[in-house]
Amino acid sequence: MTDTIDAEARLDLYRTMVLVRLFEEAMLREYHADKGPGFDIGKGLVPGEMHLAAGQEPVAAGVCAHLTTDDAVTATHRPHHFAIAHGVDLRRMTAEIFGRETGLGRGRGGHMHLFDPDTHFSCSGIIAEGYPPALGQAFAFQRQGAGRVAVAVTGEGAANQGAFHESLNLAALWKLPVVFVVEDNDWGISVPRAASTSVPSNAARAAAYDMPGERIEDNAVEAVHAAAGRAVARARAGDGPSLIEVHTLRLWGHFEGDAQAYRKDIEDVPGRDPIPTYEKSLRDAGLLDDAAAAAIRESATERVEDAVTFAKESPVPDPAGALRYVFASGGVS
């Protein structure tokens, strides 16, 4: 359990954040590319709701740096950053977002329903309801005794949902190897944190379950990394769950199409982007220069565009197969 972090690990955090951001920018572009004239949410190659995680990269990067693909992650309606940081295949994930047969869910799931058994990744569109299944993954891991952990993510808005409470209690009671992560981006759609949550920090709520709780301010990726390191180590050691809340930033709207008229901090938002901030600190530390930064962006861009191309070139699901996979046997009955 150490808070020091070496240069390569710092660069990895940066690489992950850049990859996530470029992915989200590509989704933003693809999503809006063909919604017009006007804006029709059901139109285009990527239809439906789209919750992008730009600004929240430090949370996913800092936490997932401690995981292998044998560990589990359950994410929220805003799942891309965690999926990418956890190592979900970018092509199949993108194909799912494009609703293609090659997608993680063969186009049945969509952007809020990414399931990847290879990396034990899943997410849910229902607030806080990704927590309980993570307990079960941790429960199975606990029995295997191999030190695997489950990470369960929600937003700060979600921390007022009953499932949050039940999950923390049960995990603490059974000492399950879970790390609960709360992404506090100040908003639950249009509702500011102060209008949803009776305490300033959800980390304080950890005490209600006799669990360590820590809040990271300033969207600081290395502080997230350090806290997550402690929490993951604790879980792997069999000492039970922890909670980490990160004060992060929703750089864009709640979902695409959100005009954010309710958002008073809007002017100030771009200046709080965590990626330039972190990039500057790496440059200041002499770990990054123009060339290295460009190389990182370039390689990330390549991966993202490759995934987008793969998705676009993949077949659309055949309507005749709409009823497949309802049951494990494959069909509807």
């Binding site: 439906g48 293609r100 186009g107 809020m112 709409a322 509807v332």
Partner: protein, 338 residues
């Protein structure tokens, strides 16, 4: 009360009904997630905050059990809350308050306690929102006793049913389909905008509306499917198939007489239901006929519903399982020919 009218979208008509009652009755409030400054994700409360202020139009935490329960307690004490469950798909986190409390207190108390409240909720798919944000689930609510369930399809009914729901002394579930709201950012149907009288009027809960008279086949349906059915009916008229379209409007109470009367005339029945096929609306409509006389049915009944599959994300798949006009048309043709 004036005699003038305006052309409004369904969403604006719904809000108009709420506003009229809020103006008339102090005890009416609107509660839910993002119903204040945002105005409701599907426009169910747009403008109410500006007009009535934050003490009557109230944003809640994402705690559906707590705030729906709060509405119940407030109703028990004489208020008339309208409380919004943002998507009906979320009912699983708060159904206990809804069906074991809101809906049962009147009965359990032998009528001594009244729970005058409205639960509003958005339903429906068709825009690739996936398996957890696209359901109708009216069959789920209508199966459980103690709550009325209304499902408007157009602006006039949206306002009139809302006013009836607010004035009802018991709980009413008011399900608005996103696709009939006339939202700027969704595919538009011309029937999502229409004449709405100014001022107060009510549409009675429990009476169906013959949206189109016809003699060949009865199509019984609700909500967005009414629009599709009317579109199909217009088309089929050219081929001499004269479709009667029944907009049920209310699932509880269900206007069984209207169903039987129509089938008595046509002898043929198609039920169109954007909810799941089995154990739902379509079976109940059929049983309303066979309870009386199966001999009224001169052909097999066609049920055009979501075939017991979670709503798929990909457009190609979603449109294959929804009761789109193509499936409705094929069903009517088959039943008419049988």
């Amino acid at each position: 009360m004036t005699a003038t009218a305006e052309r409004l979208t369904t969403s604006r008509a719904m809000v108009d009904g709420i506003a009229a009652e809020m103006a008339r009755d102090e005890s009416v409030i609107y509660l839910g997630e993002d119903v204040g400054a945002y105005g409701g994700i599907f426009g169910s409360s747009t403008g109410l905050l500006d007009r009535f202020g934050a003490t009557r139009v109230i944003d809640t935490p994402i705690s559906e059990t707590a705030f729906i329960g709060l509405a119940i307690g407030a109703a028990v004490e004489g208020m008339r809350p309208i409380v919004e469950l943002m998507f009906v798909d979320f009912f699983g986190v708060c159904m206990d308050q809804i069906y074991n409390h809101m809906a049962k207190i009147s009965y359990e108390s032998g009528g001594h306690v009244k729970v005058p409240m409205v639960l509003t909720t958005a339903v429906g798919g068709g825009y690739s929102d996936g398996a957890q944000h696209s359901q109708c689930l009216w069959g789920t609510f209508a199966h459980l006793p103690g709550m009325k369930v209304v499902v408007p399809s157009n602006p006039y009914d949206a306002k009139g049913l809302m006013i009836s729901a607010i004035r009802d002394d018991g709980p009413v579930v008011y399900m608005f389909h996103k696709g009939v709201m006339g939202l700027a950012w969704m595919v538009k149907n011309r029937r999502a905008i229409g004449e709405v009288p100014d001022g107060e009027y009510t549409v009675p809960i429990g009476s169906a509306r013959v949206a189109r008279e016809g003699t060949s086949v009865t199509v019984a349906t609700v909500s967005l499917s009414v629009h599709h059915a009317l579109d199909v009916a217009e088309k089929l008229a050219e081929d001499g198939i004269d479709v009667e379209v029944l907009d049920l409007r209310s699932l509880v109470p269900l206007d069984r007489e209207a169903i039987v009367a129509s089938v008595r005339k046509t002898g043929r029945l198609v039920v169109v239901d954007e909810d799941y096929l089995s154990y739902g609306l379509s079976g109940e409509v059929v049983a309303s006929v066979t309870d009386v006389d199966p001999g009224l049915l001169r052909a097999p009944v066609a049920r055009v519903a979501v075939p017991d599959v979670p709503i798929p994300y990909a457009h190609s798949l979603e449109y294959a399982v929804l009761p789109r006009p193509d499936r409705i048309e094929a069903a009517i043709r088959a039943v008419a020919a049988a």
